[in-house]
């Protein structure tokens, strides 16, 4: 079952799915494994595994710091692959890679996609590849039946959304607001207009992220999108109160 179908099927049972995020190697690779285990057990529906990059242009301070520490602790691409492979084999939800263009580009888009396939990763989120420059990337992914996830922004025009949704597959990642990850988003404010436009632009499932940090945020987008994405907040919780805290946090969102 491909990613899109998985999401649609799962949505039959749940109003909204939950996608969480970790940075591979942060605080350590062992912790990464345990974090995934905790999250999966707590009921998340899909996960992003971020491969750290030294120039994380679109990340906010929390994820940036996590990436940096992971690299300083000696995280290599090889270690990321190994850990991801272990994760995919042990847990039965879809996992995606999140990273920046250069990580894929340096390895080669095609070898990288082959590696993802071999490991069992279902797709990838790369925020600094725009549709215009995505051809090699999407071709490599599609050849391996993997999903390159693309992003909408609140200031994407309707026409632009069309272009984007045609380039990507799996689902669309709706960035809830301008800015980087990890800042507050006021979900009580009306972002419904943006999400309605997004919905109209594509038949792909929609995910929304950037600033979701409690059940109320999720409730606010319920009905508009298929997936709520928790990024920064779970790192904050992990830093503050460990795995147990993460378990409690994820469960509180359901």
């Amino acid at each position: 079952m491909n990613l899109e179908n998985y999401i649609k099927a799962r949505r039959q049972q749940k109003d909204i799915l939950l996608m969480t995020h970790i940075v591979l190697g942060y605080p350590s690779f062992d912790d990464s494994l345990r974090l995934v285990e905790t999250m999966v057990k707590a009921g998340v529906d899909l996960m992003e595994l971020q491969i750290p990059f030294s120039e994380p242009m679109a990340d906010g301070p929390v994820i940036m710091k996590a990436s940096q520490e992971s690299l300083e602790n000696g995280a290599t691409l090889e270690r990321c692959f190994e850990t991801a492979e272990k994760i995919c084999s042990e847990f039965d939800i879809p996992f995606l890679f999140m990273s920046y263009c250069n990580i894929l580009h340096k390895y080669g888009f095609q070898p990288f996609a082959e590696k993802m396939k071999a490991i069992g990763i279902k797709g990838s989120i790369v925020p600094d590849i725009p549709p215009e420059d995505a051809q090699d990337y999407t071709a490599a992914m599609k050849q391996q039946q993997l999903d390159p996830i693309f992003l909408f922004a609140p200031n994407s025009s309707d026409a632009r959304m069309k272009t984007i949704e045609k380039t990507g597959s799996g689902f669309i990642y709706c960035v809830a607001r301008t800015g980087v990850t990890g800042s507050n988003t006021d979900f009580s404010e009306d972002i419904s207009d943006y999400l309605r436009r997004s919905r109209a632009a594509t038949d792909l499932p929609l995910a929304v992220g950037f600033g979701i940090k409690e059940k109320a945020d999720i409730d606010a987008v319920k009905g508009f999108v298929d997936i709520a994405i928790i990024g920064t907040e779970s790192i904050r919780v992990m830093d503050a109160s460990g795995l147990e805290g993460v378990d409690r946090f994820i469960r509180s969102l359901a």
Binding site: F53, S54, E55, P56, M57, A58, G60, P61, M64, K65, Q68, L71, T76, L77, Y100, C101, N102, I103, H105, K106, Y107, P127, D128, I129, P130, E132, D133, F150, L151, F152, A153, P154, N155, S156, S157, R160, I164, V175, T178, G179, V180, S183
Partner: protein, 410 residues
């Protein structure tokens, strides 16, 4: 200048930006296309540069150096005489005019050595814009004098505590600001790098150097130079002067930071060394000094302005085409060249600039006396006093600082 796909130069360039900046770049591309087609704009730009800075900057004949080496006649294009002390102001004032056209109220910029930050703060004061400068925390500590001036001109200087806390990290941070505030804010990128249209746009504004130099060479010597030398950080001063001679039978020589030597990995030579590979970072595709995983390396140079990880996509392409010869100069060669230039000509090139001098000094003696070269003096060195005094390990300077500190502490 672009060929093939818009924003690309050969296989380099592009605009690898988050979706949220798409509309901003669309507007920027549109406005840039508009001003390029508008002869009034260039006229307005030249007027501004000739009344606010001192363009045309002179072409100085270095008679003592020419005699000293006994080879080519050496001419020096004096970007150091610009307001704020370097070529950086050409780009910044050009973008300032663009900001006015776009009606934005705020500018942000990255800065490493501080030169571009000072230029941007200056432009913001002049144009009445709000201004935030991102600067790696390490650079803030090293380059306090520049921070002082930026703040005095009303800019907010934000020390970037992320990453390696140097230039590239301040670029990331500036982008983070931009993705949040793109509606009222323009990011004044400081060199011919970054996502399209920046490499082409910065080069466009800097082309004023080459236009003048070409004309001045003809006036002064009746012919074009045989070779033109420029140091290469991001590549803006090099592209600036090279563009005056691109279609001529003139050798173009770009000089990168050789640091401790290109065999030591402690350098910032993207083309002259074999250490760089093609990558995509900070919004564009070019040669980067990166490891096999695609993580960027730390670089080293005595000059804060040349230690960037990437190089202008325009230069990468011209290197592929063999149009530009790339060389590198080591820290030691650079200090020697600086020292000689001060003693022989009373000129103080910036440490960045001194790289171009170092290579020119290697080549000039081998040339005939009826041949001429131009060195682009991209900036003046007197604002580098803390670095240069350290490079010379000047004991009286150290004593002065120690005394001064004592005063402050008492």
């Amino acid at each position: 200048m672009a060929e093939g796909k818009a924003g690309y130069f050969g296989e380099y360039g592009g605009a690898f930006i988050p979706e949220v900046l798409h509309a901003t770049f669309e507007e920027l591309n549109e406005k840039f296309t508009e001003i390029k087609a508008d002869p009034d704009f260039w006229q307005e730009y030249e007027n501004l540069m000739s009344t606010y800075s001192c363009r045309a900057t002179p072409l100085t004949y270095a008679d003592n150096l020419s005699r000293h080496f006994g080879g080519a006649q050496i001419y020096i294009k004096r970007e150091d005489l610009n307001h704020t002390g370097a070529h950086k102001v050409n780009n910044v004032m050009g973008q300032g005019l663009l900001v006015k056209r776009m009606g934005k109220k705020r500018v942000i910029a990255e800065t490493g050595a501080g030169q571009h930050g000072v230029a941007t703060a200056t432009m913001a004061a002049k144009f009445g814009l709000e201004c935030t400068i991102y600067m790696g925390e390490i650079d803030v500590l090293r380059q306090r004098p520049n921070v002082f001036w930026m703040e005095r001109m009303g800019a907010t200087v934000v020390p970037v505590k992320e990453g390696t806390r140097v230039l590239k990290d301040s670029i990331n941070e500036a982008f983070r600001d931009w993705v949040t505030n793109m509606d009222d804010t323009h990011y004044v990128l400081g060199t011919a790098c970054g996502p399209a249209p920046f490499p082409e746009m910065v080069s466009y504004f800097q082309s004023i150097i080459g236009k003048e130099a070409r004309r001045q060479s003809l006036e002064a010597t009746g012919k074009l130079p045989d070779s033109v030398y420029a140091c290469v950080g991001g590549g803006s001063n090099a592209m600036g002067i090279f563009q005056g001679f691109m279609d001529d039978d003139v050798e173009l020589v770009g000089v990168e930071a050789g640091g401790h030597g290109i065999d030591t990995h402690l350098h910032a030579s993207r083309i002259a060394s074999n250490d760089a590979t093609v990558g995509v970072a900070q919004g564009f595709r070019t040669y980067f000094l990166q490891n096999q995983d695609g993580q960027m390396n730390e670089t080293h140079s005595v000059s804060a302005g040349l230690d960037y990880i990437g190089i202008s996509p325009l230069l990468a392409n011209l290197a592929d085409q063999g149009r530009i010869r790339f060389e590198s100069a080591t820290d030691v060669e650079v200090i020697d060249a600086l020292s000689l230039t001060m003693k022989k000509e009373g000129l103080i090139p910036a440490l960045e600039t001194s790289h171009a001098f170092a290579q020119a000094f290697k080549d000039a003696p081998k040339m005939r006396s009826d041949q001429t070269i131009i060195i682009n003096q991209s900036g003046r060195g007197d604002k580098d006093i803390f670095t240069i005094a350290d490079a010379f390990d000047d004991p009286k300077w150290k004593q002065f600082i120690i005394e001064k500190a004592r005063q402050y502490e008492s």
